[in-house]
Amino acid sequence: MFNRLTATLLASTMLAGTAWAETTVKAVMHSGLRVLDPVITTAHITRNHAYMIYDVLIAQDSQFQPQPQMADWAVSDDQLTYTFTLRDGLTFHDGTPVTAADAVASLKRWGQKDAGGQVIMDRTASLEATDDKTITWTLTEPFVPMLDMLSKQSALPPFIMPARVAETSADEAITDYTGSGPFRFVEEEFQPGLTVVYEKFDEYVPRDEPADWMAGGKVVNVDRVEWVNMPDIQTAVNALSGGEIDYIEQMQVDLLPLLEGDPNIVVEKREPTGMQTMVRMNFLHPPFDNQQIRQAALKAIQQEPVLAAMVGNPEYYQVCGAIMGCGTPLGSEVGTETLTQGGGVEEAKALLEEAGYDGTPVVLMAPTDMVALATQPVVVSQALREAGFTVDLQPMDWQTLVTRRASQAAPAEGGWNIFITNWMVPEISNPISNPMLNGRGDDAWFGWPTDEKVEELKENFIDATDAEAQKAVAEEIQAHAIDNGLLIPLGQYTLPQARRAGITDMINSPVPVFWNLQKAE
């Protein structure tokens, strides 16, 4: 009786605080959500969705350090055994408690797909639930980045699903969207590519620590979050000005003047690191099977025009030659002076001549339907032409591009020479998880470089015991990757977010999250 009374009283005070009305946050995200399985795809929007409805064992804080989230951990002295202990109160959205068995099944499915996960699985002696709350993970050899891999927020964090869902083959999309995260997915209102609705999951027990990026307590202060997709950012801007939506995840910088002077709207950089845009060349086919010609392409390009055409306002881009990102622990700009300062065109011409470039056309794939990727190919193609390359700029939709980049055929027969893509800096800030630094030929990322040196350097990195040593190896990797043309970094940019002034206390993590924030009515 007493309990019921306090409960009622508590409930009414809480309600008085938040008023009776339901608070709904309407957000326009960077793209429409279509795929709901965070293991089958690395699409950022799916990962963002997963952070809404799933929870993770351990999570990264704003210092890039792993922190407990669902679980605490202990490491054995020999660095071979990791023991994770689930905290109390973890519940799936269907009401069943989260057990160690669920976590183990989820980690195993993740380990088949994620690059970092695969490396761990290769070194795993056993991964099992020793009791309801305890996960014991034993390795065959010490693996220093273990906790970094498990706590990373991109591209593919290990989300915890119920064991029955995690038993789905890793190549098949899941169809049951039960998680244990702070929000619940409202399946009935899901319109693929258009609207996604989340409701606050009342039984979620947040940690006590304050929220810090993906770590700390995930306290939800709104009842409902709706993600609406709009076909162009201009429409979204209009809707934000009119108060029809609360939040735009990625603003096009050129349109910022439209929001200036409106006291109800705040435009800000959400997170410090931003995105990297970069060129990838195909190592299998002429002319880029030749290191000198790859080097010529690198010398021909200067970052600033690319970034200016893409972003416009210099406040939102940063010339940066570091393949692992500027402003990250391992970022180094060795060897990229021409990229950042220009003046490499003559050198490029000389290299082309020396290499005997015969005018083989360079097939440059240019996606037309992705705003963040549409301008770079045009500027890059002009730069390459100026250095003496013959460029065949081929416009195509993004879907054709992702299909075609998987083709190892000759460029004239449906293959390719160059394309450009963007990464979130946390995804590429570590040589183990940076896909460009995979030198294993056919098993490498599209472009398929066979580069034993980079593999060797990565082994050195894994063996490096302290931050100092890691940084030294990372610098060697940078110098080598630039010299070999594993990628051409085009610089970094941040697309600012825009919110109604009534939305406050947003977390400035690279992944936009909806816990912690408040909405004033």
Partner: protein, 291 residues
């Protein structure tokens, strides 16, 4: 289905149409405007103050400034030059579509009209083709072939063909009942000869009219395809893709849509007006039908 224009006698209307003074003042203005647009685009290489592809990303989205009478686009390219040069490809796509669809339609329509056995099959296929909304068909076709100039022309042409086929077939069906055709058949004149000598001339007048309309609508369709992200590369400007690119900047730089839009609309408007005039001239009976 829309009323089928009755056939007219041979070449006379075409010849008559060539006597320009019969056009009204509206058509004369239209002819003048079209002539100006065509001449400007033909001479674009010499008139344009800049190379339409030379970019300067550090001076992008500027208003009218010295050297750039209409300002610059998001790559810092000269809008005026791009609109001038863009007209070339827009017109080429329009003309190619009109010519190709009329020629293919003529051949298929002839076959359908003259050979009863082929007729049913061809017309069912044309019905099916016509039932698919042309924009959706065109986007799918561009996706199929990649957005090159050739595939854009093909994508706009294919949905136009059934309309031409129907027109030609109707003319042929009516003409083959004419005494002189029956006489030719009875005299054992070879089939190709009958087709070329007696039937093709009958189709000329309606085809010229149809051709101008296809020309106008093809230029428009190219713009819409570009708008939907299935057009030709930005390195080969067309009125359509200039507008498509400019649409992101509509609120801060509406010129990117307005100027190419104006050029395109004026061009299509004059083609349509001339098409109407040609129709009135070539076939007075059509005039009553469509005003």
């Amino acid at each position: 289905m829309s009323p089928i224009p009755p056939p007219t006698s041979a070449m006379q209307p075409v010849l008559r149409a060539l006597r320009l003074p019969q056009f009204g003042w509206g058509s004369k203005i239209a002819a003048l405007v079209l002539a100006v647009i065509v001449v400007l685009t033909l001479l674009a290489q010499w008139i344009a103050p800049h190379d339409p592809l030379t970019m300067n990303p550090l001076a992008r989205l500027k208003g009218p400034i010295e050297g750039h009478p209409l300002g610059t686009d998001n790559f810092g390219r000269d809008i005026f030059s791009r609109v001038l040069i863009g007209g070339q490809l827009s017109l080429i796509i329009g003309i190619a579509t009109a010519v190709v669809s009329v020629l293919i339609g003529l051949v298929i329509g002839m076959v359908a009209g003259f050979f009863r056995t082929a007729d049913a099959i061809i017309m069912r296929m044309m019905d099916a083709l016509m039932a698919i909304p042309s924009i959706l068909l065109a986007i799918a076709l561009v996706a199929l072939n990649g957005p090159s100039v050739g595939s854009v022309i093909a994508a706009i042409t294919i949905p136009e063909i059934p309309r031409v086929v129907r027109l030609v077939r109707a003319v042929v069906l009516a003409a083959r009942e004419e005494p002189y055709v029956e006489a030719a058949i009875a005299l054992g004149t070879s089939m190709p000869k009958i087709l070329v000598r007696h039937l093709v001339p009958n189709t000329l007048a309606p085809l010229i009219v149809q051709g101008t309309y296809i020309l106008a609508s093809a230029i428009l369709t190219e713009a819409i395809l570009s708008f939907l992200g299935a057009g030709v590369s930005t390195e080969t400007p067309t009125w359509g893709n200039i507008m498509a690119e400019g649409r992101m900047f509509f609120r801060i730089k509406p010129e990117l849509i307005l100027y190419p839009g104006l050029a395109l609309s004026l061009c299509i408007l004059s083609i349509n007006l001339l098409g109407d005039a040609a129709r009135d001239m070539l076939d007075p009976r059509l005039k009553k039908r469509a005003g």
